[in-house]
């Protein structure tokens, strides 16, 4: 089972596709949630997801706008897609019949 932040990260990486890497994922999460995403949380979660085989990462090529430093590229694996789908389905099921606006 995924955690909330793990799900956010997987979803952001899946949406970014080929352009998924540290800074872009972080920006995506901040834009969607409106909350600040720390580098520490991002990179330790990436490691955790990779250990669970939900993502695969590799070092990309260096770019000038990054001061000649490489990106850590992220790709969501089939297991990652399945885990995110299960998480989403569980959240949808548990939310059925509950209207947060009415409470």
């Amino acid at each position: 089972m995924l955690g909330e932040f793990e799900y956010l990260l997987l979803t952001a990486a899946a949406r970014l596709g080929e352009d998924a890497y540290g800074a872009a994922i972080r920006q995506e999460i901040e834009d969607v949630t409106g909350r600040r995403c720390s580098i520490g949380a991002l990179y330790t979660t990436l490691d955790r997801l990779e250990a669970k085989t939900f993502i695969k990462t590799r070092m990309g090529s260096p770019t000038p706008q990054r001061g000649g430093r490489p990106k850590r590229m992220v790709r969501v694996t089939a297991q990652g897609i399945r885990a995110a789908r299960d998480f989403y389905a569980a959240v949808t099921r548990v939310s059925r019949g509950v209207s947060w606006e009415a409470l």
Partner: protein, 293 residues
């Protein structure tokens, strides 16, 4: 302020793995964060990485088995060495006359005491180097925390004065009762400054060097690793056994391992293994080639 923050970011990020360091520094450059934000981010990541390392047993063993007990014992040994040599340094420095050198007895005594003091310095350096070596090889990635704690123990144990009553080593020069030599220790230099200089030069620097070498141990071949571990553990035992606590234990329960036995004589020799290690490193024999070469 921003410059200082970025300098700190650079320093802190060196604690990360090379690939991660490059990716993080690149992310920070791309997102245009301020120095303060970057520092907070990198600090958070380093803290998380260090915390993760403490889930393993190695850093804990290094903390409990080396940092606290060996740190205390080294302080005692350092203080004993400093006090022991201070008396002879004071004696010769304050009464020096070149004409004494014409006297054969004086020359003999000078050579004898100089050799004794030098040997005690070398012994202390080897102990400190070995302590750092064991600490580095056990702690690995957690060395920044364990290394800092080790130096904190050395500092804290030195400032109020380590419990001298357990410091009793046949390998080091001893003062016996310091009060007997109150003329020497009435001088602030010999009482305060000299022990600190001895600790800095003969304990801090060699142990730092040993830590760096200890971090490389994992890259050596298994047989060499085992040999070095045996030598290092024997050296640590040589620090601990001469203390009164162990001396009593030996006499009560292990009479065969008394300090004057052949085992002890062997231990006294093994203590100097860092010299052989360093000589072999600089000589570059085949045995020291790393696994991936």
């Amino acid at each position: 302020m921003t410059r200082i923050c970025w300098w700190l970011v650079d320093r802190l990020s060196r604690l990360l793995e090379p690939d991660e360091r490059e990716a993080v520094r690149g992310d920070l450059a791309e997102s245009g964060e301020t120095g303060g934000q970057a520092l907070r981010g990198v600090l958070g990541l380093v803290v998380r990485r260090q915390a993760a390392l403490w889930k393993h047993w190695r850093p804990w063993l290094a903390l409990i088995g080396v940092v606290i007990p060996v740190g205390m014992l080294l302080t005692i040994a350092s203080r004993a060495t400093a006090n022991g040599s201070a008396i002879y340094i004071w004696l010769y420095a304050n009464n020096w006359d070149w004409s004494f050198l014409e006297n054969a007895g004086f020359r003999h005594d000078l050579a004898h005491f100089s050799a004794g003091v030098c040997m005690s310095y070398v012994t202390l350096m080897c102990w400190s180097w070995t302590s750092g070596f064991v600490l580095g090889s056990l702690s690995r990635g957690a060395i920044p925390v364990n290394g800092a704690l080790f130096y904190l123990v050395l500092l804290l144990a030195e400032l109020p004065g380590a419990p001298r009553y357990i410091g009793h080593s046949p390998l080091l020069y001893r003062t016996g009762d310091v009060d007997v030599h109150s003329v020497v220790f009435a001088l602030a230099f010999y009482r305060v400054m000299f022990p600190l200089i001895v600790q800095a030069v003969l304990v801090l620097l060699p142990s730092l060097w040993g830590m760096r070498q200890g971090l490389r141990l994992v890259t050596f071949r298994p047989l060499l690793q085992t040999t070095l571990w045996i030598a290092a553990l024997a050296t640590l035992a040589a620090i601990a056994i001469p203390s009164h606590v162990w001396w009593r234990f030996n006499h009560l329960y292990l009479p065969l391992v008394a300090w004057d036995g052949w085992q002890a004589r062997l231990l006294r020799l093994v203590v100097y293994w860092p010299i052989a290690y360093m000589a072999a490193q600089w000589g570059g024999p085949i045995a020291f080639q790393e696994k991936n070469t």
